[in-house]
């Protein structure tokens, strides 16, 4: 029933975004402290590079680019689901406390757990993931009411409250600690993509491979849930069950991303919103656009952030916030 005009527009946009991602990725691979010549990228990819070239490409740049794209995609999809679920265009994984939940878990783990360098980096995503899931669970419990079930508006309010409380806890936690340790946590919070290694890619990829088709499968239900609760029930949607499944999906996606990238806000807000402005509010149309857009946005932010300042650059999360905050204000002003 969707007008062919929109379908065509979506296809064109999807192609455009894929080209943009490939283009930005190649720029990102070439740039950096250890430069890789652009006309060497393709030969190196095909296995004809020198040892140094292969090392830079396969062990440094490529994993980083891939993880950035995947995390951006996961955040965008999570935001898209939350926005449809809560019928609120300002919903974002950060708003339901996922970032801060993961943050507190990472801080606690980092500060109080004896560090063994080897296993530490691989434990961190798990810890962040657990923190995010537990926070989401609490938010769900507090916004659940016996008679009316899960109220989306209430969930946002509870989420914002949790998010603030957890940020406060984090301040207390890190204010009494040594500088060195605080540095890492501060960077994590700012959204520094640190998990740029192949194992992290294998950790995040399955979520996307399963949950992207799952979300598209649920697109029609999301459309109806976005319309009105009564209408959704009336056409036979088991509304409570769907909400829980979709909420878990959104949390899983966002946590898997946040666990390797640190606290990145605004991608989950911006990508679905821009996608809706481009192809309209139908979930099956805007979700794929939002996913690619999210991947691309985070990739741009990381590429810019990585090269803008020597020697370490600035975290991608900060670059995203620099674009995202004005966009958020624009959204607020536009609705008035």
């Amino acid at each position: 029933m969707i007008h062919p005009k929109w379908l065509k527009k979506q296809r064109v946009l999807l192609c455009l975004l894929i080209i943009l991602i490939i283009f930005t990725a190649s720029i990102g691979i070439g740039f950096g402290v250890a430069a890789l010549d652009y006309n060497r990228i393709l030969p190196t990819l095909l296995g004809e590079g020198s040892f140094k070239e292969s090392f830079i490409l396969f062990s440094v740049r490529l994993p980083r680019v891939i993880i950035t794209i995947l995390a951006g995609m996961a955040l965008a999809l999570s935001g898209a689901i939350l926005q449809s679920l809560t019928r609120n265009d300002l919903a974002d994984p950060g708003i339901i406390g996922i970032n801060s939940g993961a943050g507190v878990a990472v801080a606690v783990f980092f500060l109080f757990y004896p560090i063994q360098a080897g296993s530490f980096v691989y434990m961190l995503p798990l810890v962040a993931f657990a923190g995010a899931i537990i926070t989401a669970l609490f938010i769900y419990l507090f916004s659940y009411e016996k008679n009316t079930g899960l109220q989306p508006t209430r969930m946002i309010l509870v989420g914002v409250g949790f998010s603030m409380a957890l940020s406060g806890i984090m301040m207390v936690l890190i204010s009494s600690q040594e500088r060195e340790k605080v540095d890492f946590i501060a960077k994590w919070l700012a959204g520094n993509i640190w998990g740029a290694d192949w194992p992290f890619i294998w950790a995040i990829l399955p979520w996307l491979i399963i949950l992207i088709p799952f979300s598209l499968y649920k697109a029609n239900r999301l459309n109806l849930l976005g319309l009105s609760e009564s209408v959704a029930i009336g056409v036979g949607i088991a509304i409570e069950k769907e909400r829980i499944f979709l909420l878990i999906t959104a949390v899983a996606l966002a946590s898997s991303a946040v666990s390797v990238t640190g606290g990145i806000a605004f991608i989950g807000l911006m990508a679905p919103h821009i996608a809706k402005a481009l192809v309209g509010p139908r979930n099956q149309l805007f979700i794929p656009v939002a996913i690619l857009l999210g991947g691309w946005l985070l990739l741009v932010a990381d590429t810019v952030g990585r090269n803008i300042m020597d020697p370490d650059g600035i975290p991608a999360g900060i670059v995203v916030a620099l674009i995202g905050a004005p966009y958020f204000i624009y959204l607020l002003l536009k609705d008035r």
């Binding site: 029933m1 056409v235 088991a238």
Partner: protein, 266 residues
């Protein structure tokens, strides 16, 4: 034996009961309207019967089984509901909105089949909204929009259709347009219509059976002659009504009314 009845149901929010011990039978293939003052529980009753809210005790039985025990998607093939405030359609076209009514018949990724398209076109035709198929719902007038939403409910192909104040916010002509459409659906296709109406004369004119509610309990139920009486209206609305006959339809109608004088101090 009627397909749909409630047996001693209690419905409430928290501690407060809105509908108390209510037992009612909805006659098949007839138009039933529910009337009553604001807050008497008429919308609540409609929402409970359509499982939008759950009832605390008692049972609501459709085809021999409590609705809360039935599969909600299968139930959506038996009854459709048009809620009171139909929210903004989010940029959807009329055709898309109506296609959402096909949800109970879809599986997998929800691709529409030939049969779905036929039903959608039929629903658009019968509600006179076919010309708006590719127009955004927002661009329609109130009456047209209401008909588009009715078309969505029709696309569900259910024997029973519930409507919560389908004529609110419409002007006199559009109110009649909607009611006549429902009457046509009832007469020509034998669909059971259950609706909440505010206008007593419209209720008397279109309904085969009227349920008058007060404080969550039934004051009187039956045909218009039985319910639209001075005594019933006095109890339900605290009004002193003058009942006459509609010269065109011969149905009872409330010609004029006054508020019942309240005794000072009570």
């Amino acid at each position: 034996m009627s397909r749909l009845q409630t047996d001693n149901i209690n419905i409430g929010y928290g501690e407060q009961l809105i509908v108390k011990n209510l037992s009612v039978t909805i006659p098949d293939k007839k138009i039933t309207t529910i009337i009553g003052a604001n807050g008497c529980g008429k919308s609540t009753l409609l929402k409970a019967i359509t499982r939008i809210i759950s009832h605390q005790s008692g049972s609501i039985v459709l085809d021999g089984e409590d609705i809360l025990k039935q599969n909600t998607k299968l139930l959506a093939k038996k009854m459709a509901i048009l809620p009171q405030t139909t929210e903004s359609a989010n940029g959807l076209t009329v055709g898309e909105l109506v296609s959402y009514g096909r949800f109970p018949y879809q599986s997998g990724f929800g691709r529409l089949k030939q049969k779905d398209y036929e039903v959608i076109d039929w629903a658009l035709d019968v509600t006179g909204t076919a010309e708006f198929k590719f127009r955004p719902v927002e661009s329609l007038s109130g009456g047209q929009r209401q008909r588009a939403w009715i078309a969505m409910a029709l696309a569900q192909e259910t024997d029973i259709i519930f409507l919560d104040e389908p004529t609110t916010y419409l002007d006199m002509a559009h109110q009649l347009e909607v009611l006549e459409l429902l009457q046509k659906l009832n007469r020509e296709q034998g669909r059971t219509i259950v609706m909440v109406l505010h206008d007593l004369n419209q209720a008397a004119r279109f309904a085969d059976s009227i349920i008058a509610l007060k404080d969550g309990e039934i004051v009187k139920a039956g045909d218009a002659e039985k319910v639209l009486t001075h005594e019933v209206l006095e109890e339900v609305f605290q009004i002193d009504a003058e009942i006459g006959k509609d010269p065109r339809t011969n149905r009872p109608m409330c010609i004029t009314y006054n508020l019942k004088k309240k005794e000072i101090g009570k």
